[in-house]
Structures are given as C-alpha cells and as structure tokens.
C-alpha cells in the first residue's frame, strides 16, 4: 500500500529553484532513503512533506498522503496531519529537546495533543510505555529526567519517543545519526529498523552517507542539486546504478584499505609516557579523562586513535599540542620534553574538526595560512611568506585567486583544505588531525583523506589521526590505538586490528561502523532467503 507519493514536485524559494520535478513513493512498513551531499535539497524535501518551509516558498506538483494531497491543505488541517500522521526526527539531538522541561513532560505533551481527554494516570503509563519502546530503561531514566542528564544518543531516543507518541504513519528522520558516534549510530539505526518491523511505520531516512543507509533502506533515492539523479530498489540498485554521481557516492562509501608499502623510520618523533590528565569535580573523585596513556609515533608513521566521544581522545590531543596542562606523565617531541615551549611547537601542528570554527572570520586566507610562521625563529619577509603560502595553496588544490578571500566564501571541504595548508606551511614533523573529516560529506571526506595521504607522503610528515569512526581511520593509518574511558585498550597494525580484534570494545566498534560491502552482502543473503 502506498503511504506517501511525491509527484512532479518542485519548490522554489524567493524565485530560486531548490527542488525540481521530484518523484518518489514510499510504502507502509518500508524505509526510503534520500542520499545526497549537503545542498542537494534532501532536507528541504523532508521539510516540504510536513510543510515546514521558510517564507517565500512556492510549491508545485503533488504530495499525496494516502491519496490526499498535502499541498492543498490549510495550515490548520496540516497541523492535524502533523499531529496524527507525520513524525519528524531532527539531526541535532542536543537542541531538539527543551532543556527546561523533563523528558516525561515533553512526551506527555505530545500524547495529550492527540488525546486531550486522557486521564493523568493513563498518560503516565503511556509515556512510560513509549519510553520502553525506544529502549530507555524506566528505572535508569524515569520520566522526571531532565535532558541535560542524557547523552546525545539517549536524547535522540527521547526525540524518537516524542515522534512515536502520536502513532505516526510516516516518520521523517533527517540525518538522525550524523551528530552521533558510530556505536550510538548503530544502536539508533537498529531501533528505527525495529519500529518499522513491529509497528509498520514508513520511514524516510535522509543521509549523506550511502554506507549508513544501505543496510536499512528498501528503496534508495540519490539527489543532487535539487534533482533526483537516480533511484531504485536497494536489492538491485548497487548493481544497476548508472549515473556517475551514484557511483561516486558508492566509491566514497566503500573505503579502500590503506596501502601497506610505507616505510616507518626508527626515529621516534613523539613519545607519550604515562600521561594522565585529571579534572577536579566538585564533591566527587577527580575525573581521569586520560589515564596512564603511553605510545610512540615514529617518523613516517600514520597512527590512528579511535574511541567514542567522551573517551578522552580530544583531551589527549590538547595535551600533546600544549593547549592543556597534564597532571602526570611526560610528552617528548623529537626527544625533548614538551610543555608548550615555542621551539618545539615548530615540530607539530593541527587540523581541527570544525571547518567553520577554525578560522578567524576577519582574516584573509593569506593571513590565516601564514599564521604558523610566527613560530619560526627567523621572521620571513612578506614576500617570502606569500610565495610559500601560494605554493601551499596549490598543493592543497586551491588557486592564487583565493589568497585575498575570506573564510566565509569557501565551502566546508575547501575550508578544510585551507586548514591543512595552515597545518603544513611550516613543514612540521607531526600533524595532529582531530576528527578532521567528521564534519564533511562522504565524497568531500574521501577527497580530503586522499589529499592528506598524498601530501604527508610527499612531504614526509607523520600524523596522528583522531576519529570516532574506524572506517575512516582504516583508510588512512597503518597503526591504530583504541581508547575507552581514558585508557588505551588495544593497539596494533590497522590491518590486524581490523581482521581479528581482541578487545570486545574494538569488536563492537568494528561492527558498528557502517560498511557498504557488508550491507550489500547481508541484503543479498536476505534476498536469497526470501526467494528460497
């Protein structure tokens, strides 16, 4: 039974065409995935279905919910539909809940809307039931819990609970796991699958990563620049896809394994010895964010550090960069103890996660990239600086014309290129990459990873790549450290850790990381079972 049908739908905002001639269809109890890069219009499509669009939007075509055109509805009727038929899950769980009200109040508010005459006792019971449905234990998370006590994944569960409380027929999930760790992502995805199976809800899943949705979706729609490029049934889609963009997305999701022929020198560049960083908490035992961590990084080595958020990997990075004082232990750079002094800072630089926050918005690219020159003993002339900056920009794939531009004129991927240029400009021995590709689309991500790999090889730079995602790390490192709760639980060469992980945490990380080849395989197996 067709639940929702989008027919020849076009959308323009202030006379700029956002979506063009979209056709798609979703059946009850099925998952439709919309995949595309940022700016492809996939979020606008999902907002259009529940008609939450910015001012100046003009719509054409039809969106049929059970053969009822949603575009003809008045706002009042639309409210009823949103209440009864449609649910929405947003990307950012941290801001999707009201911080001043308990999760119980927020769930009950939603129940009350559809069922205004319900008695308080039943209301409580129902809210508890719904929390149970999203696998939130009522003893650990009673209804009077405030959102700030929950982690990102738990909050996302509450958001899903609120969406479920009105028994929607269609759930729209707009990048529901992009802001979450891989392990949490896997759990949330599993939960969504269960909802589809148990309650026959249709789900529209919006994502930029084919690998994330390949496992779940029954039907895949690839969008680019406001148009549907290609769509098809997941079982056959990967074999039959024709459009170059779909293939590009597929390749980006496929993650090639790291080439093995690198030469690791014997010279130790960075040595971390029994490093401990404690935070003093009021009335509690001090929190050991980093607990007795030791490792080395040799010249030419590409080391990965993996762990979920809150495991202390960023604190460790900040300690190594000299941005944070550590409590115990030692850090040696090039054989000398490092505590933030200028001479050694020359040896190390960093690329941060957020391509939007890592540049002073008031400086030109030239000034931004030239900033690390400050660390040099002998100051360079303006001309020398400019020559070097230009050469570096060329290396990272930007042009001469970009020299005088400001950061806001660049896209996220380009900004990350500028950040890499800034990190490499003084030719450091080590660069630290702190989740440097997490905020990027898959295609851009694979481009940046390729760039990093080539550049570090060309310039002979070793790096420490920090990430929550094992697949990304697999792409780019030859040795991996796995970190949990401030402790390194496993260490070894990437290939080996991937092939036979010893620690159960590493295993769960590997299982959780989205893998498109595995997903396709399991789909095919399912398919075979069904035909048998």
């Amino acid at each position: 039974m067709t639940l929702l049908k989008v027919k020849d739908f076009s959308l323009s905002i202030n006379d700029e065409i956002i979506l063009h001639n979209i056709n798609m269809e979703i059946k009850a109890g099925k998952v439709l995935a919309i995949v595309g890069e940022s700016g492809s219009g996939k979020s606008m499509m999902s907002s259009a279905i529940i008609n939450l669009l910015p001012q100046g939007a003009k719509l054409k075509g039809k969106i049929l919910l059970n053969n009822d055109n949603l575009l003809d509805k008045s706002e009042r009727e639309m409210c009823l539909h949103r209440m009864n038929d449609l649910g929405m899950i947003f990307q950012e769980p941290m801001t999707a809940l009201n911080p001043l009200e308990t999760i119980g109040t927020q769930i009950m508010e939603a129940i009350k809307l559809t069922n205004p005459k319900i008695r308080y006792k039943d209301l409580l019971k129902k809210a508890e039931l719904i929390l149970e449905r999203v696998e939130m234990d009522k003893n650990r998370f009673p209804l009077n819990t405030y959102p700030h006590k929950l982690s990102g994944g738990q909050r996302q569960r509450v958001v899903i609970a609120i969406a479920l409380s009105q028994n929607p027929k269609l759930l729209i999930a707009d990048e529901p796991t992009t802001a979450l760790d891989v392990t949490t992502q896997a759990k949330i995805m599993k939960l969504l699958m269960k909802l589809v199976k148990d309650y026959g809800i249709g789900i529209i899943l919006v994502s930029h990563d084919l690998a994330v949705v390949a496992d779940l979706a029954d039907h895949i729609v690839i969008m680019r620049k406001g148009k549907v490029v290609e769509q098809g049934d997941t079982k056959t889609f990967f074999k039959s896809m024709k459009h170059s963009y779909s293939k590009q997305l597929f390749d980006a999701a496929k993650h090639k394994l790291y080439e093995k022929n690198i030469t690791v020198g014997s010279e130790v560049l960075l040595e971390v010895l029994n490093l401990t960083k404690e935070y003093n908490l009021a009335n509690k035992k001090p929190l050991k964010a980093v607990n007795n961590v030791s490792f080395t990084l040799n010249r030419g080595e590409n080391l990965g550090l993996v762990g979920e958020s809150g495991c202390g990997k960023s604190t460790l990075a900040r300690c190594i960069l000299g941005l944070e004082k550590f409590s115990k232990g030692k850090i040696h750079i090039a054989g000398r103890p490092f505590y933030g002094q200028k001479e050694l800072r020359r040896c190390i630089n960093v690329v941060f996660q957020d391509p939007f926050g890592s540049f002073n918005p008031r400086h030109t690219v030239e000034r931004l990239v030239a900033e690390p020159f400050y660390v040099l003993k002998k100051p360079l002339t303006t001309f020398e600086k400019r020559v070097k900056v230009l050469r570096m920009l060329k290396l990272v794939g930007l042009g001469d014309g970009d020299l005088k531009k400001y950061p806001h004129e660049f896209s996220g991927g380009q900004r990350q290129r500028i950040a890499i240029a800034r990190a490499l400009i003084t030719e450091p021995d080590i660069i630290l990459l702190d989740e440097s590709t997490s905020a990027l689309d898959v295609i851009i991500r694979s481009q940046i990873l390729d760039l990093l790999r080539d550049l570090t090889k060309k310039l002979g730079i070793s790096y420490l790549f920090i990430s929550h995602d094992l697949t990304t790390v697999k792409n780019i490192t030859n040795r991996v450290l796995v970190m949990k709760d401030g402790v390194i639980v496993e260490e070894g060469s990437t290939a080996e850790i991937y092939k036979n992980p010893k620690h159960h945490y590493t295993k769960s990380l590997i299982e959780a990381s989205p893998d498109i080849t595995r997903a396709i395989k399991s789909k095919e197996e399912n398919n075979n079972e069904n035909t048998l």
Binding site: I13, D15, G56, G357, F359, P361, R362, P372
Partner: protein
C-alpha cells in the same frame, strides 16, 4: 548595496549636525559668548538673535554651540578613557579566566562590581567635590564609571571567542595570550564595543549636563548646556527659550547617539546581514 536603517540615518544625521555645529564654534560663533550686553537682555528669539539672549544679554545660539562642543569633548574623552582602560582589563580578565588563574579574573571583576555599585552620578559628584569642580575632574569622573562597563562587556564577549578553534590554532602556532587577544579577539568583539561606545557616549552627555547643572562641571564663563538649564530655571516663566534650546539640544544629542548606536548594531550584525537566503553577504565589516 548596503541598507541603512532609518534609525541609522536619523541618528547619524543628528550626530553629524551637532558635530558640525560644535566644530564651527571653534572658528565662528554669531556673537562672542563672553560678551555681556545688559541692554539687550531677554531678547526673544528673532532675526538678530536666533535663539534669543539671556539675563546678561549673551547670545543663546553661540552659547549652545560652544556648550555642545564642550559636552561632546567631555564625553568623547571620558568614553575614550573608559574604553582604553576597560577593554584591556576585560580582555586580560577573560584570558586569565580561560587559562588557569581564576583569581586575577575574580579580583578584576569584583573590583568592577565595586565601581558599578556606586551610583555613577554620585561617584562623579564625590570626585569633583573632593578635587574641586572643573572640566578635567568631570572628565575623569565620567571616565571612571565608564571603565567597568567596557571591562565587563569585553570580558563577556572575549570569553565566547576563546573556546573557538582558531584560537587554539593560534596557540598551537605559539602565539601568546596578549597577541591572541589583540590579533584575534579584539577584532571579533569590536562591533559590540563600537555599539556600546555610542550608548556610553549618550550617557556621558547626560552625565556632563547633570554635573554642570549642579555646578560641578565646566566653570563660568565657559558655557555648558547643563548650567544654562540651571540658570534658566528661575526665569522659565518669562523667558522659556532659555530652557528650550539647551534642553532640546541635550535631548537631540542623546537621541541621535542612541539611534546611531542602534543603526550601527544592525549594520554590523552578521545575522541581520545574512537574512536573505539568496542575497550574498555584501561585505565583511571590519
């Protein structure tokens, strides 16, 4: 094409008008402000004296021009003092707060609170009462109660900039706290400071007028708007123009600066600049 808001146009227009009048008074006033003409006292506004004359026969227009000049000069210097001392203090406190020593931050900010706790005008009266009424003491007094305003606002704004990644990147490049504050933080909080400065400016105008109204500002025969109001008080029933003009000028000056501050805030606020979806950001205000 930039869009100027109405408040910016009106406020800026008023401000420019008064600034021109004040500047003009350096070279030319219709009459000498110290020239007494007892025969022509209490002349009502007319062609000969556009704003009339007072009980000594002095020309009100000339006095208002010079008085405006004094008021603007006092406020400008006083706000300047407040900003040049307050902003570095605030930046220092923020830097200390973010990098270890909370104690210095606490000391600085509690000291600020102490100055804040005094009613500003009383503080000014106290200072001028102790050191004697003069225009310099008025400037110092108004300057002092401007310091905590700037210190607090720059500390707060700087605290929101410190955790940004570009600050971390600058620290990784080996830059010290003062260099980061100057190169990265100050330019990014400048909007806020400029807007605050215009508001403080209008407050300073009122403070100057109030001080000279109670006789603690600039001393006769140097004309000032506040003292003109004071002198007009006893004659308001038969020579109301003596109060209308200086009073009106104070109101218009304050209104002008406030409106201009609002206008500048709208102009510099990137959120307002980027409001239209299709329109590109027109410029990077710096």
């Amino acid at each position: 094409m930039k869009h100027f808001s109405i408040s910016f146009i009106v406020g800026g227009g008023l401000t420019v008008l008064f600034l021109m009048g004040a500047l003009l008074s350096f070279f030319w006033t219709p009459y000498d402000v110290e020239l007494l003409n007892i025969k022509g006292k209490f002349a009502s506004p007319g062609l000969e004296h556009l704003m009339g004359t007072d009980h000594f026969g002095r020309d009100i227009l000339s006095m208002v021009m010079v008085g405006t000049r004094n008021a603007i000069a006092v406020s400008l210097i006083a706000v300047g003092i407040g900003a040049t001392i307050g902003v570095p203090l605030g930046l220092w406190a923020a830097a200390k707060c973010m990098n270890g020593s909370r104690l210095i931050d606490e000391l600085l900010m509690r000291g600020n609170d102490l100055i804040f706790a005094f009613p500003s005008l009383l503080l000014a009266i106290m200072i001028t009462a102790v050191f004697g009424p003069s225009i310099i003491n008025a400037i110092i007094a108004i300057g002092i109660f401007n310091i905590p305003v700037f210190a607090r606002i720059s500390r707060g704004a700087a605290l929101s900039i410190w955790p940004k990644e570009y600050i971390s990147a600058a620290r990784v490049a080996g830059k010290g706290v003062s260099r980061i504050s100057y190169e990265h933080i100050l330019p990014n909080i400048l909007n806020l400071l400029i807007v605050q400065a215009t508001i403080q400016f209008s407050i300073a105008i009122i403070a100057e007028a109030s001080l000279s109204y109670v006789g603690l500002g600039s001393q006769p025969p140097n004309p000032s708007l506040g003292r003109m109001l004071n002198e007009a008080q006893t004659m308001i029933f038969f020579a109301p123009w003596l109060a209308y003009f200086p009073g009106g000028v104070i109101v218009a000056l304050v209104l002008g600066f406030n409106l201009m501050g609002d206008g500048i805030r709208d102009l510099l606020d990137p959120k307002l600049r980027q409001r239209s979806i299709t329109g590109k950001v027109s410029n990077d205000a710096s």
